[in-house]
Symmetry: C2
Amino acid sequence: MFIKSDDHETVREWISELSVLQTDLEIRVWPNVDPIEDIDFALVWDPRLGDLARYPNLKCIGSLGAGVDHILKDPGLPEGVPIVRLVDQQLIRAMSEFVLLHVLRYHRQQPQFEAAQRESRWITLPPPNTGETRLGFLGLGELGRDAAIKFRALGFDVAGWSRRLKQIDGISSYSGQDGLAALLERSHYLICLLPLTAETRGIINRRNLALLPTGAFVINCGRGGHVVDEDLLSALDSGHVAGATLDVFHVEPLSSSHPYWRHPRVTVIPHASSLTSARSGAPQMIENIRRVRAGEAPMNQVNRQAGY
Amino acid sequence: MFIKSDDHETVREWISELSVLQTDLEIRVWPNVDPIEDIDFALVWDPRLGDLARYPNLKCIGSLGAGVDHILKDPGLPEGVPIVRLVDQQLIRAMSEFVLLHVLRYHRQQPQFEAAQRESRWITLPPPNTGETRLGFLGLGELGRDAAIKFRALGFDVAGWSRRLKQIDGISSYSGQDGLAALLERSHYLICLLPLTAETRGIINRRNLALLPTGAFVINCGRGGHVVDEDLLSALDSGHVAGATLDVFHVEPLSSSHPYWRHPRVTVIPHASSLTSARSGAPQMIENIRRVRAGEAPMNQVNRQAGY
């Protein structure tokens, strides 16, 4: 097997966690993968285009993150090799924490209180009614579902949009283009936890933003590619969107000259909503390596057609 | 009956909500209470010292907030008149939201990300492990209990200190002076939701702060009187306490010259953690008025001895 990430710390952590679990596992670090005939499992983040087609005996591709857009974007991806993603309970929990923090931060007017503190000014701001505050999740997969349930428990009015309708207690489910419009029209908070696919790329665009009620907030923890930056900036400039918290960007790190950094209505988070943890992810990768070597089907397989 | 608050908006809202529920209720607005023989129920916030002893037919004193320190501080309070506090589900929910926001804000390093954004700087800050993050609640009454359970559901390690030991699933319970020391020593976050009584006044003092682990955070949503300001400021100056979010103060509004406003480690919130809502509080006051007029015992009676 080999591991590929541009972040040396990630590579070190994964090697350490995998080796603890299986001491005789031979792990090569890309690009030092020769002889390529030995490679049966590729554990990757953002592989070089065309690279994964080079390994004649590749049995499985594992993603070092929950998303797999960084793998599927390769037009030369070998057919028939299963792709597995990481389903990491710690990542799910960290993402829900992040979304809780950033919705509550706007809901409880924290930016206004901080502005008042800078002027030593005591202000009175009654908080909005929680039960009348409507959250709309784009994506009700592992991440969206967990966050939606936690907000429901706090008393928010929660809905979600997903490829297929979902049955989740107390959460309204929407699907399809009409469902998307209906979700947008009711959402004081739009929270994107979608996978990046051909269908979802650019979903946060002028037309869809216009459907949100005036003064809505946008929180993007999906991918930078979900947002049409110019459209979001113009909705923020006009005040139609009251605030945006963005954790992901088209190019990361976000260029220091990008207008997001200095926009008074934008909170930039440096892709920190939720980190894949080698410690919590390694056991399922060890199990998947065992399975594919034993000729069994791996867990958490990606549906290439759906794109996640 | 009469209502007394210095905030005109509060008076208006309560009169409106009470009158909707009982159209024939005669409500006087303090100080226009004559003839005083008519007054059987006093619904008050911060009554004038000695005033409540003036009403020969007073059957019950109702607090316009969850706390009753503003009533009990009166040395001339008439004996034998029951005092009832507001147990408001909306207030409890709003308080838990507030504590969730402010713990998560520090836990997920939001002040650091905001500082980095001001410099258009992309930083990498791995989040602390939630399961290893220990919260200590001072007070496990209606408010502390609800917040503690919600943090437990997010995976935090949660404990609480209260006058009597409490049985709450998954929450460690401490009591007494030794229990207080044990709670303080383990708490990365100290969250005060205590009533202000003779026993709890000044509980956030030099000796107790010194027991917290270095780098702990303090969140006070109890009363300003729980904190010895000089002691907290010196613990913040030394860095022993890494941050404090304060919602309540000895004197409110907080004077614009108070050092809290400009301290880089203090977040000042203008007593906004949780507001009593006339809409959600009026039904229980109507029921209490009915009860005392019918000669029945009112609900949510305060134990004067305990101070809450």
